[in-house]
Amino acid sequence: MPARVEEETDPVIRAYLAGVDRTLLRKNAALSVEERFLQLMELQRLAAELRSAVRLDPTA
């Protein structure tokens, strides 16, 4: 069976597909590749700040 058909009929993949947030994908589709990477870098910075905030406040 060709790989593409396999993915499209794989019940596990189909189950996960139901949980995919397509609004985010549509938003990203409107961006250039470079804009997608800039967005990722912003997200990485945010994640790093959150991690560091948790380290500074051990009760968090």
Binding site: A3, E7, Y16, G19, V20, R22, L25, L40, A47
Partner: protein
């Protein structure tokens, strides 16, 4: 330098909304390319990720020739160098399935969406199932 972006960064290039922390590349293992790779990474102090500090690790052509896949950390961030990936093989096998993208003024190769899905499936990791589903959704959105 001859390399192909794979993994989470390639998924980002295709429009994935997932957060990835490292850059995975499949690199061409020709001696001249290994020398270019070493020249590009050395200023950023590459070191084995997760290894205790102080090991006599030195990223040079000889080191790259002795190994195949390297998980590195650097001043720029985490970089994984793959000589080969499951389900995809090496640079020469993947190049026909790569697309050209421009990033910050540099043209580079990124694994195409169909092949990216294929290698994620071949990796067979449970954590990739969600990623595969998202990539399939991206492909459906393009149809």
């Amino acid at each position: 330098m001859r390399f192909i972006i794979v993994g989470g960064a390639a998924a980002t290039a295709h429009g994935s909304a997932r957060l990835t922390q490292d850059l995975d590349i499949v690199y061409d293992r020709s001696p001249e390319n290994l020398a270019r790779l070493v020249r590009a990474l050395t200023p950023h102090q590459p070191y084995l990720r997760g290894a205790p500090p102080g090991l006599p690790f030195h990223l040079d052509v000889a080191t790259l020739l002795r190994g195949l896949n390297f998980t590195l950390t650097s001043k720029l961030g985490d970089v994984d160098l793959f000589g080969e990936i499951a389900g995809g093989g090496g640079y020469a096998n993947l190049e026909p399935h790569a697309i050209s993208i421009e990033l910050f003024g540099v043209r580079c190769l990124c694994l195409g969406l169909d092949k990216l899905i294929e290698v994620k499936r071949a990796a067979g990791r449970p954590k990739d199932l969600e990623v595969i589903a998202e990539l399939v959704a991206i492909r459906e959105g393009r149809a």
